[in-house]
């Protein structure tokens, strides 16, 4: 009897432990996911947000899957005519904004008023009538520009995403609460607590101490962090690091000088050492995984040619200043390396933090997966006198060549984003290019 009792107790204990273990590894609701960001967001406008944050609060008519293919979101289906000029989108029924108002065709049209020729065709249908064929319209609608939102009485934005803005402290903190009425189902976590303006070092410490669940890691620290057995996740290279020669400065108005600088840069050494092998060296605006033709833009160093060009320039023209972002720990060594490389070619570059310089080391995060849209935005930056024509690879390649031919913009690298994750974050499955999908993430209970 006693033996039986002991066996029973042992079996019961084992079953209990197994049940608890199974319960901890199963998705469950609750908890607050603490996210720390280096940047400070001052507005709730999705156009001002990093691409990865937009899907937390805002939905578009469509979203992109892991392969970049459009998938239903607020629109459950769409079709187009043979010319790809007329598109019909059918809205998801019963979808609601965070204030409980229904997502109607009128509300969506009001939100997309900047888009050309969009109109409501009944409560649940939208019609886009383009003047030229727009085969990539669903992809463009999946960008931040296609986020559906409405304005409240106080002017605050109201989205339809899995989380709604519960508390907003501009530049400091955003508390996002799980939206019970989300059409895709309530997120597992109750809150996403976003702390902004956090230094990378502080983020690393908070992750180590368990005060944060999702932090950003500088690329230069990615390898070392991974060696320290910290859980990391890296996006595909999605942020362009480039040199931008400002207009209106007499020194840098000489395209030969810009070309000499561009040819002197040893991207390979910078990538291998300063970037710790992360990212891709590039001579193109669009990343290779997005355009498919980035390899056509040379990025290899040609010091002899750079010296040859520089030697033909007047000496006073060979002194320029290069500004870098002091808050970005990677920018400074990259800028200094570029200065060292340029000095070898005979061009003196004075590096300094800030934005006032003849040349700037700038970062352009990928805000859209639509190549034409990315190039159009870059054309705006470079004051191009035309827009990309057709969205064909040939047209995009020609347009990109035109943008880069005067060396006003010198693409250097496409950088990935690296995140550190706490061990309790489960079901972390973001898009490869960085869109966070926190509605499916759940948190393990903290062990005492």
């Amino acid at each position: 009897m006693r033996r039986f009792a002991w066996r029973f107790l042992a079996a019961a204990s084992l079953i209990s432990l197994a049940w608890r273990a199974a319960a901890e590894s199963r998705p469950h609701y609750g908890g607050t996911l603490v996210v720390e960001l280096h940047d400070s967001l001052t507005l709730t406008d999705p156009g001002e947000w990093p691409l990865r944050l937009v899907p937390l609060v805002y939905d578009g008519l469509v979203r992109l899957d892991d392969r970049g293919e459009p998938q239903p979101a607020l629109a459950i289906s769409w079709q187009h005519d043979a010319s790809n000029k007329r598109w019909e989108f059918h809205l998801r029924p019963h979808a609601m904004f965070h204030d409980g108002s229904p997502v109607t065709a009128a509300a969506v049209v009001a939100c997309l008023k900047d888009w050309t020729n969009v109109a409501a065709a009944g409560d649940g249908t939208l019609v886009f009538q383009a003047e030229t064929p727009a085969p990539d319209l669903p992809v463009r609608l999946a960008s931040a520009r296609g986020a559906i939102l409405m304005r409240g009485a106080d002017g605050a934005t109201i989205g339809t995403g899995p989380f709604r803005i519960t508390e907003w402290q501009p530049g400091k903190r955003a508390l996002l609460g799980a939206y019970e009425g989300y059409w895709g189902g309530r997120p597992f976590v109750d809150f996403v607590d976003v702390h902004m303006g956090r230094a990378y070092r502080d983020q690393a410490i908070d992750l180590e101490l368990g005060k944060a669940d999702l932090v950003e890691i500088p690329i230069g620290d990615a390898r070392r962090t991974a060696q320290q057995a910290v859980r990391t996740w890296t996006t595909v290279p999605s942020e362009l690091l480039a040199l931008l020669f400002e207009r209106g400065h007499g020194v840098t108005e000489d395209a030969h000088l810009r070309e000499a600088v561009a040819l002197s840069i040893d991207r390979s050494a910078i990538r291998n050492v300063l970037l710790q092998g992360q990212g891709d060296s590039t001579g193109a605006i669009l990343p290779g995984w997005l355009s498919g033709y980035a390899f056509l833009f040379p990025s290899a160093r040609d010091l002899d040619r750079a010296r040859q060009i520089a030697s033909a320039l007047p000496k006073p023209a060979l002194r320029i200043s290069l500004a870098y972002d002091l808050a970005d720990s990677l920018s400074r060594p990259v800028a200094e390396r570029i200065a060292l490389n340029a000095r070898e070619a005979g061009v003196t570059i004075q590096t300094a933090p800030g934005a006032q310089a003849t040349v700037r080391l700038v970062k352009y995060p990928l805000r859209s997966l639509d190549p034409a849209q990315v190039l159009a935005e870059m054309g705006g930056v470079l004051h191009a006198d035309s827009q990309p024509g057709a969205a064909t690879p040939e047209a995009l390649l020609a347009y990109e060549r035109k943008l880069l031919e005067d060396f006003r913009l010198v693409p250097l690298f496409y950088l990935p984003e690296v995140y550190g994750l706490s061990s309790r974050v489960r079901n972390w499955d973001p898009q490869p290019w960085g869109d966070w999908r926190l509605d499916d993430v759940w948190l393990e209970a903290r062990t005492p």
Binding site: R224, A269, V273, L274, Q276, A335, E336, T351, A352
Partner: protein, 591 residues
């Protein structure tokens, strides 16, 4: 300038010069003493600098040594030997932070940088100087020009070599050398230490620590000289017009590993204390000199009064003697040289007086003798015929009574003629003796000249070949004179001139005004006079003529003298003679 004034000046200048010399000697001695003190303080400060330099260099070398021997560095050396440098690109920064270093570079054996704390971007670039054949592990810290991304800085660095098997790694550790380094020095009051970092080919004020641009530019030439000559130099720099602002700077070159001056240590020593002291000395000297000068003046006045009183008496006596008073005596009871001089003076004037008396007597005797000789000569000529005539009368009476009557008549006529001659001679002597006192009254000299020319007109006509000329100043003022006496004197001179021209010539009479006098000149073109004759011409009874009494010119001189005038003669043999009379316009007795 009087003798007393000279003595006063001499006393004053002597005392002032003495005080000035004392002040100068004291000032110079003070300056030399300060200079020695300044050198000692500079040497002490330089020694302190070098000790601090050595101490900090030791710290850096120790830190480099620790880093070189650490396991982490050995791992880096091994990875670098395999070409795996990327993981360690930021390691130098961590190590530098851990060891409180400003600069740290980990360099591969081929001198390519593996990791640089000061410039992470410099990986792969060469530090070729490390390839020199030097035993770095035994080398102390040294100065080096460290390249940063945007500037060059001065660094105190040490090199150590890590060896992990075959793998090697240079550890170049350093700290910045700037004003903070100098701040650790204990500076004596009035001294300061500056450091010029010789990092640019040209002088740059910004590279001199702790001073304004103006001060840096003031030190530019000294720094340049120190760098150019690569040896210690010094100079005094006065910052403002105030001498107390001056500073003496010693520039000491600080050489790098290759002997090139990478920095200049400037030790400045304020001259304010010295200037203040010298100023005080000079002020005291000025006061002492001023007081001394006043005292000197008082003493000199007293002393010179004692010394110069007999001299002044002597001078006054001499002036009296000059005025003709040879009876003057200088009273003195002094027994010194001045007393001797006074006694000698008294003796001299006594002797002079005696000699003059004797001379007067001798002249008087001589005059009487001359007078007697002239009288005898003048009287002897008429007396001899008188004697002959009387003897003829006596002989005729005794031997030829019959002819006595005839002889008597003839003799009587002869006697009367000779007696008349005697009477005339006696009359001239009487006239000279009886020169009356002149009666001054206004008269026109030109009128007198014309009147005299008229009087001698007959003689001129008789002579025939003498041409009179009158050059009379029409603006000649009237003078106060005795017309008759002046007329007589002028007539005398004119007749002498006519006598001097037996063969004819030109008689020229000239009048003109000269200051408060009028001048009357009587010139002839006769045979002229010798110098001896000119000298003796106015001596009474001296004559150059066969029939003259020698009283004419003496009378003229007497008249001129009585009119308080002067007479002189200019003549050369064969060129005539010019007598010049100068008479006062107004007689002094009436003025």
């Amino acid at each position: 300038m009087t003798f007393r004034t000279r003595l006063l000046l001499m006393f004053g200048v002597t005392i002032l010069a003495s005080v000035a010399m004392v002040v100068w000697i004291v000032s110079r001695s003070t300056e030399r003493a300060f200079g020695r003190l300044d050198q000692q303080r500079t040497a002490a400060l330089a020694e302190q600098f070098y000790k601090e330099f050595e101490r900090r260099g030791g710290e850096i070398a120790a830190a480099a040594d620790r880093i070189a021997k650490s396991d982490a560095t050995m791992h880096i050396a091994i990875d670098a030997s395999r070409g795996e440098v990327a993981p360690h690109v930021a390691d130098a920064a961590d190590l530098a932070t851990a060891h409180a270093l400003d600069f740290l570079e980990l360099v591969a054996p081929d001198t390519s940088i593996v990791s640089s704390a000061q410039s992470q971007a410099r990986f792969g670039y060469k530090e070729a100087w490390l390839a020199e054949p030097v035993d770095w592990n035994s080398q102390p810290a040294f100065l080096r020009r460290e390249e940063l991304p945007d500037e060059f800085v001065l660094a105190l660095e040490a090199v150590r070599v890590t060896a992990a098997g075959d793998a090697q790694l240079y550890v170049v550790a350093g700290r910045r050398l700037d004003q903070t380094f100098l701040a650790s020095l204990v500076l004596p009051a009035g001294m300061r230490a500056l450091l010029y970092r010789n990092l640019d080919p040209t002088f740059s004020p910004q590279l001199l620590t702790g001073v304004s641009t103006d001060e840096a530019q003031g030190l530019e030439s000294l720094i340049k000289q120190c760098i150019r000559e690569n040896r210690e130099t010094s100079a005094e720099i006065q910052w403002t017009s105030d001498a107390a602002s001056a500073e003496t700077f010693h520039a000491i070159p600080q050489k790098g590993h290759d002997g090139h001056p990478l920095a200049v240590l400037l030790i400045g020593s304020s001259q304010r204390e010295l200037a203040t002291l010298v100023r005080s000395i000079r002020k005291v000297g000025l006061y002492v000199g001023g007081a001394g000068a006043l005292l000197a003046l008082a003493l000199a006045a007293w002393a010179t009064a004692r010394v110069t009183r007999p001299v002044k008496l002597l001078a006054a006596g001499a002036a009296e003697v000059a005025r003709g008073n040879w009876q003057v005596r200088v009273e003195t009871d002094s027994r010194d040289e001045i007393g001797d001089l006074a006694r000698a003076f008294n003796q001299m004037t006594g002797e002079l007086s005696d000699q003059r008396e004797r001379l007067v007597q001798a002249e008087r005797v001589a005059a009487w003798r001359e007078l007697a000789r002239r009288l005898a000569h003048e009287l002897k000529n008429p007396l001899f015929p008188l004697q002959i005539t009387v003897e003829n009368l006596d002989r005729a009476k005794r031997e030829h009574p019959a002819q006595f009557e005839e002889v008597f008549r003839e003799s009587t006529a002869t006697l009367l003629a000779e007696l008349s001659n005697l009477k005339a001679i006696i009359g001239r002597f009487s006239d000279f003796a009886k020169m009356p006192t002149p009666q001054f009254e206004p008269m026109q000299l030109n009128d007198l000249v014309r009147a005299v020319l008229k009087l001698v007109d007959a003689q001129l006509i008789a002579a025939g070949n003498i041409h009179p000329e009158a050059h009379l100043d029409p603006s000649l003022p009237s003078i106060e004179a005795d017309r008759e006496q002046i007329k007589r004197a002028l007539q005398n001179l004119v007749l002498n001139a006519l006598d001097a021209m037996p063969n004819g010539g030109t008689l020229r009479l000239t009048t003109r005004q000269y200051n408060s006098t009028v001048i009357l000149e009587v010139a002839d073109s006769g045979q002229g006079l010798t110098q001896e004759e000119c000298a003796r011409l106015f001596t009474p009874y001296y004559t150059t003529k066969h029939h003259g009494t020698g009283l004419g010119l003496a009378i003229v001189q007497s008249v001129v003298s009585d009119h308080h005038g002067t007479i002189s003669v200019e003549s050369q043999p064969g060129r005539g003679a010019t007598f010049r009379i100068e008479l006062p316009i107004i007689q002094a007795t009436r003025a």
